[in-house]
């Protein structure tokens, strides 16, 4: 049994033959090559993510024995009926969606000028400095940033101290939905700036020059050229800010007031407090549904081409 020249590892003849056959098969059939490359991640994705979602959805139709706290694997619509009947869950869902929408809008309005400056005005050096400054908050813990906001918004916090210095009346926004909105807008802002920046940077300068040559003023160029071309970036950013707000429960818990519960808080309490996983699963389908609708709309606007 002579060792082949191409097998310094000393593979025996049978192993080398098999390897050659597999190599040949992969070479002749490119789709097989693609499949074998994709199969492991796809399998993991299916097992971990899709299967988890499926279990979540199935368990939403189960119940819990109130006495012993054990799962009742019996199909019923009880959880959804409770969600439909009790107005408190409508209020909480609407509050969650409303604040998520407000946060998204705020971030879009704040992020656009920053991204525009970074992409089209700033010189390469100051651009990289700006980039670092935008991303720097992401290096620190989310919790630290939320607690920092508590110190700012407190009655005797930085905000009121500054207002007092200017002789203005104190703002009483600590522990309220306003505080939740401000903090969310702050923590998710980088997720809006980066996609808008990417979209703006891709607009060829020649378009703007052509617009100017055709006699358009700055505002007209912005409306007809920049904004439509940047919109996919805005929508891509809004997917982040909207979904991140929709699923959060820590910020409402820490800076929220007497009625600041989000869907996430109810889900968290249902699992950790009342041990009612099926109800939590049922309520968790609401943000899933909202996000589904949102993504369909976003796809129509062509946002995924900018990602």
């Amino acid at each position: 049994m002579a060792a082949g020249l191409d097998s310094p590892q000393g593979l025996n003849g049978r192993g080398r033959g098999a390897r050659r056959r597999i190599g040949g098969a992969l070479y002749r059939r490119p789709w097989l090559r693609g499949l074998s490359l994709l199969a492991p991640p796809v399998a993991a994705f299916t097992a971990v993510y899709v299967a988890a979602l499926a279990v979540l959805f199935v368990s939403a139709f189960w119940g819990v024995d109130p006495f012993a706290g054990t799962l009742i694997r019996h199909f019923s619509f009880d959880n959804f009926r409770t969600l439909w009947d009790a107005s408190v869950y409508h209020t909480i869902a609407l509050r969650t969606i409303g604040i998520a929408a407000a946060v998204t809008l705020t971030d879009a309005l704040v992020a656009f000028p920053i991204a525009y400056f970074m992409a089209r005005v700033a010189k390469p050096r100051s651009r990289s400095i700006l980039f670092v400054m935008v991303l720097l908050p992401l290096w620190s813990s989310y919790l630290v940033r939320v607690y920092a906001w508590r110190l700012i918004l407190n009655k005797e916090g930085v905000l009121n101290w500054v207002l007092h210095g200017f002789g203005l009346p104190a703002a009483n926004i600590a522990y309220s939905n306003t505080a939740v909105w401000i903090v969310f807008s702050y923590v998710w802002l980088p997720f809006m700036i980066v996609p808008i920046y990417a979209a703006l940077e891709r607009i060829p300068h020649s378009y703007l020059e052509a617009s100017r040559d055709l006699g358009a003023r700055g505002s007209r160029t912005f409306r007809s050229i920049v904004l439509p071309l940047a919109l996919p970036g805005v929508v891509a950013g809004s997917i982040f800010t909207f979904s991140l707000t929709l699923g959060d429960y820590i910020t409402p818990k820490l800076v929220g007031g007497s009625s600041s519960d989000f869907i996430g808080n109810v889900v968290f309490d249902s699992v950790g407090v009342s041990n009612n996983v099926p109800f939590a699963a049922a309520y968790a389908t609401v943000p899933l549904l909202v996000m589904g609708v949102y993504l369909v709309l976003a796809k129509r606007s062509g946002a995924f081409e900018a990602l």
Partner: protein, 371 residues
């Protein structure tokens, strides 16, 4: 696989097994506990492990409800002991998660104050489901500079005078605080026990709380939240535990707490033993250890609560002069007439009828109130 690799594998396996066998020989076993943070401090756990040979693994729970959930997770049996508060203990007893114990096996049991030998939140039908540990009142905390005159009634929490500056715990058992206030101020409702409420009484308590909601700055979930609220002036009055008062006073905040004229609700924690424990001997050793005056005193001072063992008073003063009186560890039995200890609301109100609202209803009402 060659013979040699089998031999190596066998050697490795043997090596892995040897230390394991050694551990189980030297120690009395392992106790997995669910505890409040601060209840399994090295100060008293390390000497226990040395003395008993039992290893302690503790998991901290954030709420009574979480404790119940954890005790039931994986079919139970994952945990041997739980330091259940009164709003969880009956759920664990009726849910069949914990077992009755024999108090005569706990040497210090006879030294417990009478009130804590068979309190209704851990003793059912003459059977003791665990040993009482520590207790504390839910007090009325206020900022002495902003609140005057000094409040003497829970009514201050329902008074629009402090609108937007009130804070109460984010906990369904808070409904009992409203019921206690109604019990003393509206005798026509006929509330006998703030934890046994029929629909009419329950609705009255909820409507009182709904009126209170517009006055609330925040429902606090963590003790540190309430400390923040008082430190930064966002709240000036609220329901609290002695722990927050002591922390705030130590930080120089102008606060004081009081047990108002209506009395107060209070918590009483019990170490309970899982029905499926495999280490009953170690569990009893732990129950005995944690009941001794010295350990009781150490825990009381560490956490800011009151021991149930009457001999712990002297030990507390040894550790920190005046701490026995500060935490009412020397209180006379009559003191407890004014403290209504937490217990899980159940449908059976003890009057033969089952018309009381159970804890699930309390939870739902609390969610609806906050939403």
């Amino acid at each position: 696989m060659s013979k040699r690799s089998w031999a190596v594998l066998a050697a490795v396996a043997a090596g892995l097994m040897l230390p394991a066998a050694g551990v189980s020989k030297n120690t009395g076993g392992t106790l997995n506990m669910i505890a409040w943070e601060g209840y399994t401090q090295p100060q008293w756990v390390t000497p226990f492990q040395k003395q008993s040979g039992c290893t302690v693994h503790a998991k901290y729970a954030g709420s009574s409800d979480e404790m119940v959930t954890l005790m039931r997770s994986g079919g139970g049996g994952q945990y041997d002991l739980v330091s259940a508060s009164g709003d969880a203990s009956l759920r664990l007893i009726y849910g069949g998660d914990v077992q009755a114990i024999d108090p005569t096996k706990i040497p210090d049991y006879k030294n417990f104050l009478k009130t804590f030998q068979s309190p209704p939140n851990n003793t059912v039908g003459g059977k003791h489901y665990g040993v009482s540990l520590q207790w504390g009142p839910n007090t009325l905390l206020y900022n002495t500079k902003k609140v005057s005159p000094a409040p003497t009634s829970w009514g201050a929490l329902y008074d629009s005078k402090y609108k937007g500056e009130v804070t109460v715990p984010d906990n369904p058992i808070q409904i009992a605080d409203a019921a206690l206030y109604l019990m003393k101020t509206k005798p026509s409702l006929g509330i006998k026990d703030p934890y046994e409420l029929n629909q009419t009484q329950f609705d009255a308590a909820i409507s009182l709380l709904r009126g209170q909601k517009s006055l609330i700055k925040k429902y606090w979930a963590l003790a540190s939240d309430e400390i923040d609220l008082f430190k930064n002036g966002d709240a000036v009055i609220g329901a609290s535990w002695p722990y927050q008062t002591n922390t705030l006073i130590a930080a120089g905040a102008p606060v004081k707490d009081v047990v108002p004229s209506e009395g107060a609700t209070g918590w009483l924690d019990t170490w309970m033993v899982s029905k499926k424990t495999k280490n009953l001997a170690c569990a009893y050793k732990w129950l005995s250890w944690i009941s001794t005056p010295k350990v009781q005193a150490e825990q009381a001072i560490y956490f800011g609560e009151t021991p149930v063992n009457k001999y712990a008073c002297a030990e507390m003063d040894k550790l920190e002069l005046g701490s026995c009186a500060k935490y009412h560890a020397d209180a006379a039995e009559s003191y407890f007439k004014n403290i209504y200890f937490w217990k899980t609301p159940i449908a059976d109100c003890g009057n033969g009828k089952k018309d009381c609202l159970d804890y699930t209803k309390w939870q739902q009402a609390w969610t609806a109130l906050k939403g």
